[in-house]
Assembly symmetry: C2
Homo-oligomer: 414 residues x 2
Amino acid sequence: MSEATINKARLWQSLEEMAQVGPGVAGGNCRLALTDEDKAGRDLFVSWAEEAGCTVTVDEMGNIFARRAGRDDLAPPVMAGSHLDTQPTGGRYDGVFGVLAALEVVRSLNDQGVETERPFEVVVWTNEEGSRFQPAMMGSGVFAGILEREAILNGTDEAGLRVEDELKRIGYKGELPAEPRPIHAYVEAHIEQGPVLEAEGKEIGIVSGIQGIKWFKGKVNGFNAHAGTTPMEVRRDALVAAARMVDAVDRTTRAFRPDAVSTVGMFSVGPGSINVINEQASFSLDLRCPEDEALLELEGKVRAACGEIAGDMGVQLELEEIWHSPATAFDTMVVEAVADGAKALGLSARRIVSGAGHDAKYMADICPTGMIFVPCLDGISHNEAERIEPEQSEAGANVMLHAVMKLAGTGSKA
Amino acid sequence: MSEATINKARLWQSLEEMAQVGPGVAGGNCRLALTDEDKAGRDLFVSWAEEAGCTVTVDEMGNIFARRAGRDDLAPPVMAGSHLDTQPTGGRYDGVFGVLAALEVVRSLNDQGVETERPFEVVVWTNEEGSRFQPAMMGSGVFAGILEREAILNGTDEAGLRVEDELKRIGYKGELPAEPRPIHAYVEAHIEQGPVLEAEGKEIGIVSGIQGIKWFKGKVNGFNAHAGTTPMEVRRDALVAAARMVDAVDRTTRAFRPDAVSTVGMFSVGPGSINVINEQASFSLDLRCPEDEALLELEGKVRAACGEIAGDMGVQLELEEIWHSPATAFDTMVVEAVADGAKALGLSARRIVSGAGHDAKYMADICPTGMIFVPCLDGISHNEAERIEPEQSEAGANVMLHAVMKLAGTGSKA
């Protein structure tokens, strides 16, 4: 089984061709969901899938399924894929790599005359990024029965254009219902979008799950006073208090465990005038941890640290949870198929928990799921500077080929 | 000399009447410089000054001088006053108290038949607040020869209206040149605009000078990365670094000396997205200290603390000085005249350095100058909730009466 390999040059050529569709301004891409550029990317994928002998179907969410028949064609398929839409100033590989690696698996199975027991489907999910339409991971979320179809189809972009109307306009409002069906396993290849694999010199990340995430909105109320006439000891400065909280959240997370992360992304003050002590400070807080119990424990420590600062500084603090995405543990069968692939190919690998959300998050709710990470330059993503090397794409696609063959079952063609 | 006192009821009545001109929405005032409301306030003052027998003149900056003759009417006058313009949601006493206390001195001298050796002038300075037109302290600044007359007269508000045109429109573009002339002493009564006197139960602040002020613009550059996929130990988070700097500036100032203050008023981050590590943070820094050498020493400590944080966190810091207003030490003769007044009247008093700028700052450059502070409720100012009690206004005006009599020299009228 380990002799089968993908065609590195062909995979890289396809990645390069797709990057010509909806080019960015700095070498990346702008292929927002359901735009003309997205349509062009989808059309290119469909033409390639049909050339590779796949049967292409589209569901009512615009999710595209390119199916290669299995020997037992009624058996639940193995599925692999990701998304083709990008951020407004996105990279060439985020999502695209997972779709084209899966397509390369089809092409390589064809080249090498390999027939699988189960059918194999390459999937392109609609609007993973959530840049033009919210929420993100829209196509996989409806498919998995987590997001409500009608609400999603009625969603609009900033110009007021509806998801469903834009699906029809670009010709990707399909007939198939977007709903769960039996799937033997789902595997998604993706760039890491972080610096861990690169820093450790690993070629493959065997993704064991997706972090739990909690988002909070924080608000500090102090007292507005004159910067010149108010002695330090009587101040109730909302910014100084919030700044101590930002520092405390950072230190608390670092001390908690090495795989926990916290980020204050939004931060503003009021009145925000050069010679006035701030009365208000508002901020967002993003906490992530591989397991939900640990996330809850971290939240408790962060709340305690911030509460103590508020008390010391004589300010009021509200810290309101606004979103919770529970942690996901991937399926052992799929995770081990990925690990076996890396091992068989002699690639250096480590277990890793995904810090970002992916379509695999929703798929894990309806079928055995796993992911394959490849390193990306300096961990940069959601940026036109996003970059991987041909060898890195080859390693990830080869691991996918082996995992798919193992999960779908193989035999020589007649 | 200590028997002479002002008329508390009349002073309070005048404060109440002036507060009816350009009322605010919450009990305070909106009497922006050179508006119809400002004109109405000026007209009211002029009518009162003329009723009190003063000769009223106006200079080319709209500064109003109401002169009570002295026995030696060619001698350089003693001058007292402040401003009648307010912040957009200003209080009833900021500036107004200094003008009407000086007017009450004229009325009381008249009542009690006191003739002074030197003439006494009550002055109303144009646009002290700097809300509608910048810079602040415009009238006294040109009068003292510090601000350039043509540039100031050509300044415009947000609607593009010129200072000079607005002076003409409201009838306060006078003939007198706005330029330095011999003045024996200038004394300005003002509400403290801070909490020190109230907290210590003092009726009078003997103002010994005005703090030195330095303003800085800070910019922190870190690295923009994904909140979920970037481990804490590789981050270069501009917000966390800037937050530590805000905390360090606050702690450094508190440890430095009790009369130093520091304030970060403006604070913003970029990109400011909930799940992105911030690449940039920008902030303003306001440092104040009673003496310039101490201010310089504090600046050094603050720079060292922030620089160390930048180094530890792997971010770049720029901290650029954008303004320096040197410390002002008031004249011993005037300060002691104020102190003698408080003592003669049996009022509790303490020496205090003004944390805010005042017209007296510019006047100190051209003549012996001092100030009298009275406490205000909770130290609140630049706010419609600004409040003083009749007894507090009485104490301040009585100290002014005594200081003016001492500085101008007295004798009974023939």
